[in-house]
């Protein structure tokens, strides 16, 4: 089976993203649910790269003509990128909230001496 360049790129992207996902989970930056979700997404990317004909079958079933493909692909990639950015942003904000909440807790700690 002869693979095209875009297929290699797809596989490379999928594998790299998978490794990245696993590292993020290992560092405690990803919940178990999100880990499963992302592993699923990247496995699909890899599988479609290896067997691109699956998409044609899918297109026939759904009934989308080829002309729309390019726009769809660009749109999807753009969306994924945005979701990724937003996800990261939310994560950073979560971390900052944690830091704040913990800091306030530590500064306002109570013991018996603080009681009236």
């Amino acid at each position: 089976m002869m693979l095209h360049l875009y297929q290699y790129l797809g596989i490379l992207l999928g594998v790299m993203a998978l490794i990245f996902t696993l590292i993020r989970f290992r560092n405690g930056k990803l919940s178990l649910g999100m880990l499963g979700l992302w592993i699923g997404v990247w496995l699909i990317v890899i599988l479609i790269s290896i067997f691109p004909d699956v998409t044609s079958t899918l297109a026939i079933i759904i009934g989308i003509g080829r002309g729309l493909d390019v726009i769809l692909i660009i749109g999807l990639i753009g969306c994924y990128y945005l979701i990724f950015r937003i996800y990261n942003m939310i994560e950073n904000i979560e971390e900052e909230i944690n830091l704040l909440v913990r800091q306030i807790a530590l500064e306002k700690g109570l013991s018996s001496e603080d009681q009236d």
Partner: protein, 240 residues
């Protein structure tokens, strides 16, 4: 057992000042008072971190403050998860300069006599971190199954098989508490700690502990209604 209980009495008399208990608490108003009282009887220092409870947990502990100088209370303004709560607790505990920091669940599932078994290896210098392992055979199936899966996940991601990766009953010495860098805010923190142990070449010991399955702690996870609630939460967590 009897010899152990005498030994533990002598142990607590000698070392009660060296041990700080950290109790992460989220909506534990039903059990927290009893749990704290059992610890204060042993003359231990107790730090409660309320993780933004929506029930009376904070009020109850605040009232108890008047009764004992050994008790301190910290409060997260919002619920941030058990990982973040433990981090706050450990940081607060370090300020008291203890030899041993013990984390203890506030839902009443742990037995205070086991504090002796988890803190002794640290006082005696045989371990940097001790995990109290629960007996999976007496655990309800749903819980033991989940815990076994988490042990496997811990093995896959952190490369080490421990007998109970999710136990909340643990003891650390100062060195371990200072070295561990924890990022998980939720329950993932338990597995992450295991990873940190091996990353920093700390000595880990596992000791068996007794788990008390009261109607209260069991009611948290049984019944179809609760099951659906957990499922809904899992799905929500995925999209978080």
């Amino acid at each position: 057992m009897r010899i152990d209980s005498q030994k533990s009495k002598i142990f607590f008399k000698k070392h009660s000042n060296d041990i700080v208990m950290v109790l992460p608490a989220y909506n534990e108003s039903k059990t927290i008072e009893k749990v704290i009282e059992k610890l204060l009887v042993l003359d231990l220092q107790v730090i409660v971190v309320d993780d933004g409870s929506t029930d009376d947990t904070y009020k109850i502990v605040k009232k108890l403050l008047k009764q004992s100088e050994q008790l301190s209370l910290y409060r997260h303004l919002f619920n941030r998860g058990v990982g973040a709560t433990l981090k706050t607790g450990i940081e607060a505990a370090l300020r008291k300069n203890p030899k041993v920091i013990v984390t203890f669940d506030a839902d009443g599932q742990h037995h205070s006599k086991d504090i002796y078994f988890v803190s002794r290896p640290i006082i005696e210098g045989q371990a940097d971190i001790v995990i109290g392992i629960r007996d999976f055979n007496v655990m309800p199936f749903r819980k033991s199954f989940g815990n076994r899966i988490m042990n496997i996940i811990t093995l896959i991601f952190y490369g080490h098989l421990v007998k109970d990766s999710q136990s909340g009953f643990r003891a650390f010495n100062r060195k371990a508490a200072l070295l561990m860098e924890l990022h998980s805010t939720g329950y993932g923190v338990c597995s992450e700690m295991v990873g940190e142990v091996f990353k920093h070449d700390l000595i880990l010991t596992e000791v068996p502990i007794t788990t008390i399955y009261s109607d209260y702690s069991l009611s948290k996870g049984t019944g179809t209604k609760v099951g659906f609630k957990i499922l809904a939460k899992l799905i929500r967590d995925v999209f978080k």
